[in-house]
C-alpha cells in the first residue's frame, strides 16, 4: 500500500513536471499602478492579445504560451521585488519595462538568473553599456534621440536654449547628451532639474523665464510636462517647448489642456497610428477589435515586438536554454519584420537602424508627424 502511494506520488510529480514543461512562460514587468499606469496596462493588453493569437496558431514549438505579469509600480524598489518574483516562476524571458531607472534596478537580477530581458521603453544609454548578455531592448537609445532633438533645435533656429530634466536616469542622460552635442553651437542659458510629482512648477518657470530662452527642451515625463505647459500658459509665456519621448502620451494633452499643449514638439519613435507596415496595421485592427480602441502608446507596441522577437527565437532554436536563445537574438535574428519596423539586435542588445521622429501637437490635441 505504501509502495503504491509512493508510485502515485512519483507519477503525479512527473506528470506535474511534464505539464509545466508544456507551456512556455514569458514574463511581463510593467507599471500597472503609479504615475505611468496607463503605459503598463496597455503593455499587458498588447501581450495578452499576442499570446492569444499565438496560442490560436498552436503556440511556440508546439507549446502554449503563458504570460505572467508583475507590477513594477514605476518604482525601482517595487521593480526589484517584481523581478525576484518573476525569476522564481520559471520564465524564459521578461518583457519590460518602461522607465530606465526602473529597468536598471532589475537588470542584474535577470542577468544572474539567466533570464532574457527585453526592455520596451528604457532608452538610457548606459543600460546596454554594461555587457549584460541577457539584456535587449526594442526601443532606440538616447544618444540617437539626442541627435534628432539637436537637429530639430538647430533647424528651428534656436539661439538661447533652456534645458530642464528631472534627475532620473533617463531624463538626466538625455539632457546631458543634448547639452554635449549643442556645446558651442547654441547658447544654453538654463540647465536644471525639477522634482517629479510636485504640482507647482511656477517657481521653476519663473526662474527659467528670467533667463530669457527662446526655446525649452524638457527631457522628463508626460505628467510633469503637461503641468509645465499648463502653468506656462497661465503665466502668459509663449516660449515653444520640446519634450523627449517620455512626453509622448495622450495624457499630456489631457493634463495641459488643448490650448496649452498646442504647438508642443516632442521626439518619439513613430506613433502606433503612423506605423506604415502591413503586420502593424493588422495588429492595430485586432487590438481595436478586442479592446475597443487602438493602442495609444508606442511603448506598448514595442513591448509586443519584444514578445514576438523572443517567441521567434524560441521557435527557431527549439531551445529551452536561455544562453542559446540570447545568442540567436544577438547574431541570427536579422531584419525580423516587427510591428515597429525591421528588428536586428547588435552585440550590446540594442536595436539597430530605427530613427526617431519629431512630432507636434496641433490645436485639436492630436499628435502630427513633422516632415
Amino acid at each position: 500500500m505504501k509502495k503504491l502511494l509512493f508510485v502515485a506520488l512519483a507519477m503525479s510529480f512527473f506528470m506535474g513536471q511534464a505539464y509545466a514543461a508544456d507551456t512556455v512562460k514569458i514574463g511581463l514587468m510593467g507599471p500597472m499602478t503609479g504615475s505611468w499606469a496607463s503605459e503598463g496596462q496597455e503593455m499587458k493588453q498588447v501581450l495578452d492579445l499576442l499570446a492569444e493569437e499565438l496560442n490560436a496558431k498552436g503556440g511556440i514549438a508546439g507549446k502554449k504560451v503563458e504570460v505572467i505579469s508583475e507590477d513594477d509600480g514605476g518604482d525601482p524598489r517595487t521593480a526589484s521585488l517584481a523581478a525576484q518574483r518573476l525569476a522564481t516562476q520559471g520564465v524564459v524571458a521578461v518583457i519590460g519595462t518602461y522607465g530606465s531607472a526602473v529597468t536598471e534596478a532589475t537588470q542584474n537580477i535577470y542577468n544572474e538568473a539567466k533570464i532574457i530581458q527585453i526592455a520596451n521603453g528604457s532608452t538610457a544609454i548606459r543600460l546596454s553599456e554594461k555587457n549584460l548578455p541577457y539584456f535587449f531592448r526594442t526601443c532606440p537609445r538616447d544618444d540617437e534621440q539626442a541627435k534628432v532633438g539637436v537637429q530639430a533645435i538647430q533647424k528651428l533656429g534656436v539661439k538661447k536654449l533652456a534645458v530642464l530634466h528631472d534627475n532620473s536616469t533617463y531624463a538626466k542622460g538625455l539632457a546631458d547628451e543634448a547639452k554635449a552635442l549643442l556645446q558651442g553651437k547654441v547658447d544654453i542659458v538654463f540647465f536644471e532639474a525639477l522634482t517629479p510629482k510636485e504640482q507647482d512648477y511656477t517657481a521653476i518657470l519663473t526662474k527659467m523665464k528670467a533667463a530669457q530662452p527662446d526655446f525649452v527642451f524638457f527631457t522628463g515625463y508626460y505628467g510633469e510636462g503637461g503641468l509645465l505647459l499648463k502653468q506656462k500658459k497661465e503665466m502668459n509665456w509663449n516660449v515653444p517647448f520640446m519634450g523627449g519621448d517620455a512626453t509622448n502620451n495622450p495624457d499630456l494633452v489631457k493634463i495641459a489642456g488643448k490650448d496649452a499643449a498646442a504647438g508642443f514638439y516632442f521626439l518619439s519613435a513613430p506613433l502606433p497610428k503612423d506605423l506604415p507596415f502591413e503586420q502593424a496595421k493588422a495588429f492595430l485592427a485586432a487590438f481595436a477589435k478586442k479592446y475597443g480602441n487602438p493602442p495609444s502608446s508606442i511603448y506598448a507596441v514595442l513591448a509586443g515586438d519584444g514578445f514576438r522577437g523572443v517567441a521567434t527565437a524560441i521557435e527557431q532554436t527549439k531551445a529551452t536554454d536561455t544562453a542559446r536563445i540570447a545568442d540567436y537574438l544577438h547574431k541570427e535574428l536579422k531584419d525580423f519584420p516587427g510591428l515597429t519596423g525591421k528588428i536586428t539586435f547588435n552585440e550590446k542588445g540594442d536595436r539597430v537602424g530605427e530613427v526617431y521622429k519629431v512630432y507636434q501637437v496641433n490645436p485639436q490635441g492630436e499628435f502630427i508627424l513633422q516632415p
Binding site: 525639477l194 510629482k197 507647482d200 517657481a203 505628467g223 489642456g257
Partner: protein
C-alpha cells in the same frame, strides 16, 4: 534675440537689471505664497489633532486626496458650475466637499482612533498609518491609478497687473481662499465656546474634564474641522493645478507636516505661519540657489529653526517626553 517689454510699467533701461530682479523676487513670492497657503490649510489638520490628542494623524494626507477626488466627482456629476455660475458653483462645491470630508474624518476617528484612546500612544500612530494605506488604496481601486483631470474651464484664466507684476487671478484666489479659511478658523478657536473648549482640552485634558467639558465632543469637533480644511485644500489643488493622482497626498502631507513642525506643532497660528513660510522658502530657494536642491534648502531651514527654537516658531509649551 531681444524680447519686447512684458508690460508698460517697466522702468528706464538703465535700471532694467535691478528691476527685473525685484520683479522676479515678487513673482517668486506670490508663487511661494500660493503653495504655502495650501500647505498651511493641510498643516492645520495635523496641528489641531496633535494639539488635543498628541497624535500625528498620518491619514490626514489621504483625506486631502479624497477631497480632491470627491470634488471632481461632484463637479462632474452635478454640473454645479453650469447651474450656478463659476463663483457660486465652486462655493457650493467647496461646502459639499468640506462637509463630506468632515464626516469621513469623524468616521475615521470613531473607527481607527477612539477604540485606542486608552491604549499606549504608539498604537494610535500605527492605526493612523494603517488608515492612511487603507484610504489611499481605496481611492486607487475606485478611481484607478491613472491621472485624473479637472475640467479646464471653471476658474478664470485672466492675469491682472499688480504693481507691475502680471499675476494669474487664480493664484490670488487660492491665496485669498486659504487666508479667509485660516482667519475663520482663528476666530472660531478664539471667540466661540467650543473653540475655548478645544483650547482647554489641548492644554490639559484632565482639567478640562473636571471643568465640565465633554472631551469626546471636543475631539469629534477637531476631527470635523481639521479634515474639512484638508478636503478643501484637496479641492483647491484639483481646481488650481488640474491634475490629481491617488499618491498626491504623500508630497503635500510631508510638506504640510513639516510646516506644522516649523510653526510649532499643536499651535494653530504656528501652522499658518509655517505653511506660508515653507512655501516662500521653497520658491526663493529655487529662484536664487538651485531648483534641484529646493527641498534640501527648505529642510535645512527647518533644522536651523528647530536648533534655535526646538518647539518651532510659535510653539510655547516644552515638548513632552513620550
Amino acid at each position: 534675440m531681444r524680447r519686447a517689454a512684458p508690460h508698460a510699467l517697466l522702468p528706464s533701461p538703465g535700471r532694467k537689471g535691478a528691476s527685473l530682479n525685484m520683479e522676479q523676487f515678487f513673482q517668486q513670492l506670490t508663487n511661494g505664497l500660493a503653495v504655502g497657503g495650501i500647505y498651511a490649510l493641510i498643516a492645520l489638520g495635523y496641528t489641531m489633532v496633535y494639539g488635543v490628542l498628541k497624535l500625528i494623524n498620518f491619514a490626514h494626507a489621504d483625506l486631502f486626496t479624497l477631497g480632491a477626488y470627491l470634488g471632481l466627482t461632484l463637479l462632474l456629476a452635478m454640473a454645479l458650475t453650469d447651474h450656478l455660475g463659476p463663483l457660486w458653483g465652486t462655493m457650493v462645491l467647496a461646502l459639499m466637499v468640506m462637509g463630506l470630508i468632515a464626516l469621513v474624518g469623524a468616521l475615521l476617528d470613531r473607527v481607527a482612533y477612539r477604540p485606542l484612546r486608552e491604549s499606549p500612544r504608539l498604537s494610535a500612530v500605527v492605526s493612523a498609518l494603517g488608515a492612511s494605506i487603507f484610504l489611499q488604496n481605496t481611492v486607487m481601486l475606485i478611481y484607478g491609478a491613472r491621472f485624473q483631470v479637472y475640467p479646464q474651464n471653471i476658474l478664470p484664466k485672466a492675469a491682472i497687473d499688480l504693481f507691475g507684476l502680471s499675476i494669474p487671478v487664480v493664484r490670488l484666489l487660492v491665496l485669498a481662499a486659504s487666508l479667509i479659511m485660516m482667519a475663520a478658523l482663528y476666530l472660531f478657536i478664539q471667540k466661540t465656546r467650543i473653540g475655548t473648549a478645544i483650547r482647554a482640552a489641548a492644554i490639559d485634558q484632565g482639567a478640562a474634564k473636571l471643568m465640565g467639558i465633554d472631551v469626546n465632543r471636543v475631539i469629534l469637533m477637531v476631527f470635523l474641522v481639521g479634515p474639512a480644511l484638508g478636503g478643501l485644500a484637496g479641492l483647491m489643488v484639483g481646481l488650481y493645478y488640474g491634475q490629481i493622482n491617488f499618491t498626491m497626498g504623500w508630497v503635500y502631507g510631508l510638506k504640510a507636516f513639516t510646516a506644522a513642525i516649523l510653526g510649532g506643532i499643536g499651535n494653530i497660528p504656528g501652522a499658518m505661519v509655517g505653511g506660508l513660510l515653507l512655501g516662500v522658502i521653497e520658491a526663493l530657494g529655487a529662484a536664487y540657489l538651485s531648483i534641484a536642491w529646493k527641498d534640501a534648502i527648505a529642510f535645512c531651514v527647518l533644522i536651523l529653526i528647530l536648533i534655535v527654537r526646538p518647539t518651532g516658531l510659535l510653539g510655547e509649551r516644552v515638548a513632552e517626553k513620550v
